[in-house]
Amino acid sequence: MNWGKVVGILFALLYIFLSFNALQTDFYSGFQQIKSFIGLQDNLRFSVVSSNSSTIILKVENPLNVSIIVYNITGDYVYLEKSYVIPPQGSENLVLKVTNYNALINKINKNEETITISLRILNTTINEVETL
């Protein structure tokens, strides 16, 4: 008889039994947390605050607990002057420069204006191409 294994299993089971209360609360709050992660799916909302012939002000909301760096937003007639850091759970107004307003409007109306957004979250870089 290997008493090491017998006593080991007994104490391991005893430990699990004693942790049962913690286990239940962890289960509950753990699933609540997973649900909140699923909500992150529709994260990062962009909305236009104001615009004129030379600039567009874009509001970006960050629902994450980590900051997001917006490196660049570039299209044929728009660009971002500098990169922005959006704090966790916060928002930031980005100033987009417009180089040629009429051409931009033209392209948007034709559904041809594509912009490239490049972001960084922690050690992840995301490049996304969107049609306006």
Partner: protein
């Protein structure tokens, strides 16, 4: 003492088992970070500690208790000059070299099929590499970091001692 190598194997193993620090650090683009050892795990997702990992921790801690008691039992028997083998601590660090190989296949074949997107997960055991996922209009690049901690290297001492014990045993017989 009849089995000095085995005795030191048990003593060092017991010390390692009782140290509550991770053996390995693994990160997928910083978004998903894992600090783990065979006896504990901490998962961070988007900067938040994953609570469900605590449930796993209870089981892993139970495993820690089980292994520790087996090692103490081994120490008692060896101290009385009785032969006793318990090779778990020899195997545990070795599994850490197998893990990345499994991950490689999971990412490239299973996850790639599931998402219908080609994923080029790098083959790495220790170090830093880039993982690129691209779909029609999005390109995501993540830095994969997989690194052992100091404690992992220390945990290879029992493995070495056990091999030494096996070699010596073979020589005798």
């Amino acid at each position: 003492m009849k089995y000095p190598i085995l005795f030191s194997y048990y003593i060092i193993s017991l010390i390692i088992v009782l140290i509550p620090f991770p053996w390995w650090y693994y990160s997928v683009g910083g978004i998903f970070q894992v600090f783990d050892s065979p006896f504990q795990v901490n998962i961070i997702f988007f900067g938040e500690n994953l609570i469900l990992a605590q449930i796993l921790n209870i089981l892993l801690n139970a495993f820690r208790i089980y292994v520790a008691i087996n090692l103490i039992y081994g120490i008692i028997l060896i101290a009385r000059n009785k032969m006793h083998r318990y090779s778990t601590m020899f195997w545990l660090p070795i599994f850490y070299f197998i893990d990345p190989i499994i991950l490689y296949f999971v990412f490239n074949y299973f996850l790639g099929q599931l998402l219908h997107e080609p994923i080029s997960y790098p083959f790495l055991i220790i170090g830093e590499e880039n993982l690129t996922i691209s779909s029609q209009n999005t390109n995501i690049q993540m830095t994969i970091i997989s690194e052992p901690t100091l404690l992992f290297w220390i945990s290879l001492i029992p493995t070495a001692l056990y091999i030494l014990f096996l070699l010596k045993e073979r020589k005798v017989s």
